[in-house]
Amino acid sequence: MRARELIVSGLIILFFLACYFFSPKPMEFSRSTSVLIIFLLAAAFVYVFIRTFRGRFIGRRVVFIFVGVALVLPFFMKFPLPLQISPEVQSVYDALEKLPPHSKILASFDYDPPSAPELQPMAVAFMKYAFEHDLKIIIMGLWPQGPQQADQAIQAAFIENPDLKQKTKYGVDYVNLGFQSGYEFVILQMGQSFKSMFPADLYNTPYDSIPLLKNVSNFSNVDFSMNFSAGKPGTAEWVQIAVDRFQLPLAAGNTAVQAPMIYPYLKKGSKGKKQLIGLLGGMAGGAEFEKLTKKPAKATTYLLSQSFAHVAVVIFIIIGNVAFFREKKGKK
């Protein structure tokens, strides 16, 4: 038993070391290789189907390998996915397009590292777009690790577009106010004054000595706001307080789990006004936004993996059930 364990772990380590030393960086499959891989995957699924249909189920580990392959390989494929832009993503983009240069945007980062895969790509795309169009960003977080995520998003945007790094200055083009505890209470107080909740920024620079914040006292001095949220406090709280009470123009990016609960806010209310300008929902929302900015990046790559994984799960359910019905019929 022990020996087999050692061999397997040895193989795993060898695999990763081989990747580290010998793989091309970055690695990318050609179009035909990608098609071939998809074809092979489909063939493997057919094999699993036939096997299961005959009553011999494949083991857990084989299922794991399938999922692993479906998740990893799409990273290296280049495939134009037919993305239809949903109206709620389009309206976020349109609202951004309408902003004149030097407009001030309040961006609240209300998520933590575990939900970063879904939200980070859209945050990066958003930052990149804002800096390229000379929009000023005021960053804050209602979750403790949110401001760090914002920082990482900015660094990633700089790596993707090195020109921005020269052009963009902290304190003038963006500022990171950091985290404040107190959930929706923070939003409520910000309606009166930002400074009362954030007397200094993340690096302890006093609020008043930051050039970007010079004429910013509360929501009324902000032209647009964006909220990246993975739960509570998040978009629902921003809508209920900042939008409903202080008429802040708000758009949001949400995790897939959150998104369904946010949809009601996108409906036009009795006064014909939407509470939320638009919504980037999950990985798909991020990918659509990237497509609109014509700079496909992480979310687009991720979405391919995500779609493959979804299809794999659906196929597994179907295979399992076909076998199940055959068995049931056989018993009758």
């Binding site: 996915l81 037919p82 239809q84 949809y263 999950g282 359910i317």
Partner: protein
């Protein structure tokens, strides 16, 4: 006496909390209770953490199976304790928040704790797939409905859903998978959520009353049950 006092405490506190909802001068009680709870939780941790240590020290002493891992667990525990209590490497010194960037606690958090936590979470992706293949069966009508709803959502949120049903004419666009997914979320899903919520609301009332009135007292270790 020993048995009566806890029941009286539960009854009194419970009643006060119920009525504080209607009596404005008692507004602050909720916060006080949550403060008390937080403080009690710290002391309870002395018991919990102590228990954790006892178990692993026992394993070590008796050289039980896998005792080596107990050293690792205890090591991790004490390193974290030392790093956090003494605020080792904290750029802000002893007065700063324990989770300041650059402190040892935060570095361990980023490079040890976070990858472990995220990967644990991520393993779920595999378990979900395995459960789909082996467990999610359309055993009866109910399970079938569950699976169909799940299909619609799964496909509806990817470009494949769009591709599959793009042929449906615009006037019936509700039937396209992505729109169907949104409809499910906004109608039947909403109804189900509501029924569950109302049920839970009523269930909690009944259970709370059983506890407050002392009818349910198993948790207090009452021997007369």
């Amino acid at each position: 006496m020993k048995r009566q006092i806890p029941i009286i405490i539960t009854f009194l506190i419970g009643m006060i909390m119920i009525f504080s909802f209607f009596i404005p001068p008692l507004e602050g009680l909720e916060q006080t209770c949550s403060l008390f709870f937080d403080v009690i939780a710290v002391f309870a941790f002395f018991l919990g953490g102590g228990n954790l240590m006892r178990i692993h020290l026992n394993k070590l002493r008796r050289r039980k199976k896998d005792w080596g891992f107990s050293i690792v667990t205890l090591g991790g525990f004490f390193i974290m304790l030392a790093a956090g209590l003494l605020k080792i490497g904290n750029p802000g010194g002893i007065a700063a928040s324990p989770t300041t960037e650059g402190s040892l606690l935060q570095e361990i958090f980023t490079y040890v704790f976070l990858p472990l936590q995220s990967t644990m979470y991520a393993l779920l992706a595999f378990f979900v797939a395995s459960a789909s293949y082996r467990a999610f069966r359309a055993k009866n009508r109910e399970a079938t409905i569950l699976l169909i709803a799940a299909f619609v959502i799964l496909l509806g949120r990817t470009p494949f859903g769009m591709m599959l049903t793009a042929w449906i004419p615009e006037s019936f666009s509700v039937l396209q998978v992505p729109n169907l997914a949104i409809w499910i979320m906004n109608s039947p899903n909403l109804a189900g959520q509501r029924a569950i919520m109302i049920g839970i609301g009523l269930g909690v009332i009944s259970m709370s009353l059983r506890l407050i009135l002392g009818i349910e007292r198993t948790y207090l270790g009452d021997e007369s049950v």
